[in-house]
Symmetry: C2
Subunit: 516 residues, 2 copies
Amino acid sequence: MNGANALVETLTDQGVEVCFANPGTSEMHFLAALENPRIKAVLCLFEGVATGAADGWARMRGKPASTLLHLGPGLANGLANIHNARRASVPMVNVVGEHSKHHLAFDPPLMSDIEGLARPLSHWVRTAAGSGSIAADTAEAVHAAASHPGRISTLILPGDASWGEAGEVKRYPKPERQVRAPSPDKVEAAARVLHSGEPTLVILAGNACTGPALELAGKLKTISGCRIATQFFTRRIERGAGRVTLERIPYSVAPALKFLDGFKHIITVETGEPVAFFAYPDQPSLLKPDGCQVHELVARDEDCLAGLQMLLDAIGGGNAVAALQPLADRTTPTGALNPISVAQALCAAMPEHCILVDESLTTGRESMGYTEGALPHDTIQNMGGSIGYSPPVATGASLACMDRRTICMVGDGSAMYTIQALWTQAREGLPVTTIIFANNTYNILKMEYSNMKAGPAPGPAALSMIDIDRPTIDWRAMAKAMGVPSVQVETAEDFTKAIVASCRAEGPMLIEVKLY
Amino acid sequence: MNGANALVETLTDQGVEVCFANPGTSEMHFLAALENPRIKAVLCLFEGVATGAADGWARMRGKPASTLLHLGPGLANGLANIHNARRASVPMVNVVGEHSKHHLAFDPPLMSDIEGLARPLSHWVRTAAGSGSIAADTAEAVHAAASHPGRISTLILPGDASWGEAGEVKRYPKPERQVRAPSPDKVEAAARVLHSGEPTLVILAGNACTGPALELAGKLKTISGCRIATQFFTRRIERGAGRVTLERIPYSVAPALKFLDGFKHIITVETGEPVAFFAYPDQPSLLKPDGCQVHELVARDEDCLAGLQMLLDAIGGGNAVAALQPLADRTTPTGALNPISVAQALCAAMPEHCILVDESLTTGRESMGYTEGALPHDTIQNMGGSIGYSPPVATGASLACMDRRTICMVGDGSAMYTIQALWTQAREGLPVTTIIFANNTYNILKMEYSNMKAGPAPGPAALSMIDIDRPTIDWRAMAKAMGVPSVQVETAEDFTKAIVASCRAEGPMLIEVKLY
């Protein structure tokens, strides 16, 4: 078989099931290799959709998806969502086409330093030396990506390595995730903190926000009286009625300082201490109060399940029972749409086991609070802060979980970055409900303008860089352009009904929430 | 004044008139500084639109535009069109927001190695050390960008350098483009070649394809009998009736080999010898015939006007008269739309002094040939090969020349990468006619699949990565979504009429050319 076939065969041996692709001329042999029935190829009309979809897929499946990107510029177009995935410790294997080595000597138009572009946002980068080593390279790329806590691998595939003969291909075993437990010293220190009875916040991230680890965190809370929370953004949280509820550290500096005020200790699990998203003049970067001590219980590359169990054992909490979230009042809200009625509508309408991908910075700001007691669901958030994240991530998450409804909440400004994701949703018939909060402005920036002390209020030139109301975007037309049915709503009742109706649909649906 | 004001003030002193912006929180002081009436700020809803627009603006004005991008991911989103600009030697000054230095120590979510991301595709990269040095940094960035033949500068602007006090700002003079003439040795060698009477091709690029240099090339042809041509893609060509016509080396390897067959000499002006766009199995990378000698007359960083004049003097061609292109038959074609009738329609309908931005790989393939004798116009082509180039470049070119009609020809697949450009065209009321060739496929890849010998024809999985027909994109809805009027055409008559009508419109227009 040729190098491209060896690559795809090894990907599938390693458990990679899907490739989100935006191909070009140099990847034609790879396209031929995608006839392999063990991998599903999904076409994306922009590379940022491909990398975001790979992120969403991996968040739901806990193992890497692959992407196919076309040379340096194709990789560049995918980098913003690679950044987001990297920040969330999401595994990803990027395959980037490249000219044949002999051709590079002639400086052809599409030549660029692909390794140089890949390195700042990849943990593992390699240009395949040739078709003979491609299987080994691929196995190493997948192993690197799948290693705990999830890494970015970028394998650069020259044309000649793709079309050259690979010979007999060695079979490499699937990666096994080996995670070490935290040291007993760290557990002992955390236990002392909890024994002290001083106000303590345990901040959970990564694998600690799902499954049995989350349950253990709930027991810790019961037995020790600590509070348990996440950062403002988390890779994935299992939440809703019947689950352990985690508080959320606010986004803005002032409310975050207020939230953290009074804590003497912060214990971290797969995360660090709370840091402001941006630097503001005269505001702190670190958000903990004076005198508060930070104790790392579980590092990002350690085993949170072991760590939390060790801590629970150390404080004698083996029989503790976690408090579980009761079902909220799910009365349908009425009247005008605002952040609260939006959140109430979501809580009322979200179906069981839905996946909520949240990129609604302002209109959706109440949603996490109000949906604590919704039917059990998962949330996915953007840990990297690069916008244009949610439609692609929702696309991949939905493909990973076709039996669940994925709800993507996104502001109009954010949605425009990678709106091409709608087309892939239509093509694949994905059960995604995209909710566009159409307020015709980068609303967050209006707030940040004064937070930044850039002036009392934006002047006309600055405002013209913030408001996106000339022209207003016609979201129903946008959905139609890419084959997605849509509806526009202006009241809380209609919004609730629209979500419910979308969840009964077969494929994707776009709901434009018209805000005034 | 603060650092942001010093930056914008220095940009304007240096002759930078426009900033294509996609701002975020860290750039709020820069937004405030954009109230400066000497700079026009243009909002783009995706960073690739901003960098592409800066490219188009600079191609028409011959001096750099600026962009404003939001941290590493914002830069990343702009890189593909920076690559294209770099390959075309187009000057550009990118300003990239960054966290304050003290904040970076805490590894906030949006942190990345911005310098590392910028370096592979920038000629000049610097992170501003502080507000005190920002004016000097900015002046150096513009000088670097504006130096011949046009370079990419990336200035990284930390928040504290933006909001800190810059003191009295020194005024820096505008960059003066200093270009050295080629050495007499090179001129002499080229003169010997032309005197020899052996078949010679002069390949022109950069500044040699416009203005007086193009006229000199025409005289060279008259006096020496050489042929004069461009590479397949060129930054900008002044062409049409009354101009010196340049031949064009074909894109595909086989016709390019045929075109070049028989030449004993190639003389290059601001370019290199012809190279295949991609590497193909068993096909050459270098396209010149065996025994053909390549002679560099003018390097990319040298003065082509001086070089061509020196050569003309050396061969005694001072009084030669260049043959000028006669006006073509501009009869309106009728019947079905195909590459030839599309090209004839363009030739008939293109208004005088229009700007033709060409990213039509397959359906538009006859256009350059058939429009040789159209009314005088400029063409702009993509020298970097990263698709998603033309709607942004057309946006910037149009803003640079509001009194001219810009016609952007683009395939449906290519248009989807940076389609957000339509919104900026509507917002600014730009006289851009976007022609979408809607064949519902990445047609070029179908050809390349067999050129690459990936197989006799794409199988079902490969085809599903090439055809974009499920769903078909509704281009009139896409235009409506972003406030651009549109029309769909299916015949050559209607296509011609639609172009003519669009040229009478005030602002943008989209023409969907429905292909079957």
